[in-house]
């Protein structure tokens, strides 16, 4: 009797499904590899022409056809790191409050609101930044800083110049708002993975909420928290439209954080339509794309390594 019922069904469906799944997986690899190869081949004339100095030159001169990646690479890294400096404490506060302090009935709506923030298209952040934040910066914040700090001896030069409102600092602020939901959501999820018995034991010993957070939750989740921050960093590095609106689009390294700058993604977006095929400019833009790919890859690789369960300290 058991023979009849345990007869294996035809495994044709399994085979087809396995093939499809394998194809999908490999397709991603091929696509990724294809993008890297195309970017590299496209950028090759620029790499050949400028060699290593492409990375160290701060020149971007379409008239003399002399291109260097330093300004956009610098702008990309500085805005992303500044954004992290602003976003991480706030995101930590949100996650801490949501997991430890908030009344239970509030946790769900606030958590959902945070996730919704992550779904807002970046162009919306860009327009909000350009039409709301930039005028505030230009009207109040920067004139205040220029008037009060610009006359100081020695350091005054760091705060002088016209109050455009746009710039590295404004871009970092917008980026921070954009990545807070990512980091906060990751932190909240990993804070929730701490076994309650650990926390209860600590409370039982008379620890305050902050002591529990500092001595139990953070050490337990440290690696995953860093991984979540890295994911936010990855997003900040590649963000294009929102940054393009507010960074000031200047191919110079500003001497103040309020000064305008540029990022890789935004210079590619702006210059691409007026680049003739086969020109050194187009090749330099593709080379920049390749560099951004490499930077993002490094950041993601680090975050993967840190998020791996086995890597826990």
């Amino acid at each position: 009797m058991s023979h009849a019922t345990t007869k294996r069904p035809s495994n044709l469906g399994d085979t087809i499904f396995e093939g499809l799944a394998r194809f999908s997986g490999l397709f991603v690899l091929v696509l990724l590899g294809g993008i890297i190869v195309v970017l590299f081949i496209g950028g090759l004339p620029a790499f050949k022409q400028f060699g290593l100095s492409f990375l160290t030159s701060d020149n971007w001169d379409p008239v003399q056809e002399d291109y260097g990646a330093l300004v956009p690479v610098f702008g990309t890294l500085v805005t992303a790191v500044l954004a992290l400096l602003m976003a991480v404490p706030l995101a930590f506060g949100i996650a801490f409050w949501l997991t430890e302090l908030a009344p239970a009935w509030l946790r769900r709506p606030v958590g959902t609101a945070i996730e919704l923030l992550a779904a807002v298209p970046s162009i919306i952040y860009g327009m909000w930044g350009f039409f709301v934040i930039v005028p505030i910066m230009a009207e109040y914040v920067q004139p205040f800083i220029i008037d009060n700090l610009g006359e100081l001896p020695l350091v005054g030069a760091f705060f002088q110049g016209p109050p455009f409102g746009t710039g590295i600092f404004t871009a970092a602020m917008i980026l921070a708002v954009m990545i807070i939901p990512f980091i906060a959501a990751t932190m909240r999820d990993v804070f929730d993975t701490v076994p309650p018995v650990f926390k209860e034991s600590a409370y039982g010993l008379g620890c305050t909420t902050w002591e529990v957070m500092r001595s139990i939750v953070i050490p337990y989740t440290r690696i995953s928290v860093v991984g979540g921050i890295m994911l936010g960093l990855g997003r900040a590095l590649g963000e294009t439209m929102a940054v393009t609106f507010v960074i000031g689009n200047t191919n110079r390294i500003a001497h103040t954080i309020f000064g305008p700058g540029n990022t890789i993604a935004s210079i590619v977006a702006l210059e691409f339509p007026e680049s003739e095929s086969g020109s050194l400019k187009l090749s330099s833009l593709l080379a920049l794309g390749f560099i951004l790919f490499v930077i993002s890859f490094i950041v993601l690789a680090i975050s993967r390594m840190l998020l791996k369960p086995g890597a826990k300290a």
């Binding site: 379409p62 003399q64 930039v134 009207e139 191919n251 305008p260 702006l270 339509p273």
Partner: protein, 342 residues
């Protein structure tokens, strides 16, 4: 076809063979509004349906060189070598002017006066304050604040930037030797913004801001423009009469490939920053019928499109120039059997 029949039945004036024939073009964004308007009008008048994609001058040149469109459009004239190797005929359609806008609290429309040399120094970061002695001397009686000058430029590669930097190069040897003229240059000072709207919004947001935009944009948005000193040494307001004066001062007869230079022309009333925008058409069309339709379209636009162009703040092409262009169409665009297609 059904629509055409219905239209006939309603007794509307529809010419014979009302089925619209498609022509495709791509390129410059600056003339896109007038091409679109012409397209709508020409569809009703001569049954030609224009599909124009404003992808930028560089993109337009690439596409016509690869022959993926019927015609290319670009703000900066294509180089003579490229036209030669690409077997392209280039001709102008309309002209436009670039104007300077400012954001100064106590300065009225067209009140401020500036020379081209000073404009170059401002954009080079050499004149940094609005109460600089040079500006004050030129503007006696205008209240100029102790405010940093915030130069704003187009961050995206654009024909407007090409025209503007060509002007700065024409009036300032230092600018010519330094940043030079192109669709995007290495700006020594200031901040960039995307598009005409981005530049005007940034100037609007920034006290002490100065920027350059196309005239149509400034007029429609009632931005505060300034007077510029022209080659003859007169200060002129950015007005249609000044643009037309500059256009007629151009040396159209001797300009190779119609790449006429309208920047900083002679004439007491000429506005100094005016330029033409161009069409590139294959001289050896694969499909002579389509190319003939392109010519038919622009011939119609020359004859009937001037009012539409002026309405959008463009400067129509002078009659004499149109005649020369028509001759070029006839003598240079040949079908495979060597006959003129138009």
């Amino acid at each position: 076809m059904k629509i055409a029949l219905t239209a006939l039945a309603l007794g509307l004036a529809v010419s014979a063979g009302a089925q619209a024939q498609q022509i495709t073009g791509a390129g410059a964004t600056f003339p896109a509004p007038v091409y679109t308007k012409w397209g709508e009008a020409a569809k009703a008048a001569v049954g030609l349906e224009l599909n124009y994609q404003a992808i930028g001058s560089g993109g337009g040149q690439n596409q016509i060189l690869q022959r993926t469109v019927d015609f290319g459009a670009s703000d900066a004239p294509m180089s003579a070598e490229k036209l030669e190797t690409g077997k392209l005929l280039q001709f102008p359609t309309v002209m436009g002017a670039v104007v300077i806008i400012v954001n100064l609290p106590d300065v009225a429309m067209n009140q401020l006066k500036i020379s081209g040399e000073m404009l170059a120094e401002i954009y080079a970061g050499k004149i940094t304050k609005w109460n600089d002695p040079k500006i004050v001397e030129m503007n006696k009686g205008v209240k100029l604040p102790n405010l940093a000058i915030a130069p704003v430029y187009r961050a995206d590669g654009s024909g407007t930037t090409f025209v503007y930097t060509s002007y700065l190069s024409a009036v300032s040897p230092e600018w010519k030797a330094g940043p030079g003229a192109a669709t995007s240059v290495k700006w020594p000072a200031g901040a960039g913004a995307k598009g005409n709207d981005g530049v005007s919004a940034t100037v609007h947001n920034t006290k002490g801001g100065i920027g350059y935009v196309e005239n149509a944009f400034a007029t429609q948005n009632k931005l505060t423009t300034i007077q510029l000193r022209n080659k003859a040494g007169h200060f002129v307001k950015p007005e249609m009469s000044a643009f037309i004066a500059a256009a007629s001062a151009g040396d159209w007869v001797n300009a190779k490939n119609f790449a006429v230079d309208l920047i900083d022309r002679d004439g007491a009333t000429s506005w100094p920053i005016v330029s033409a925008t161009f069409i590139e058409l294959p001289k050896d069309p694969k499909d002579p019928v389509r190319s003939a339709n392109v010519i038919k379209f622009f011939d119609w636009a020359y004859k009937n499109g001037a009012a539409l162009a002026s309405g959008l703040e463009y400067i129509p092409l002078p009659e004499a120039v149109q005649t020369v262009v028509r001759a070029a169409w006839h003598s240079q665009v040949m079908s495979p059997d060597g006959k003129p297609i138009y």
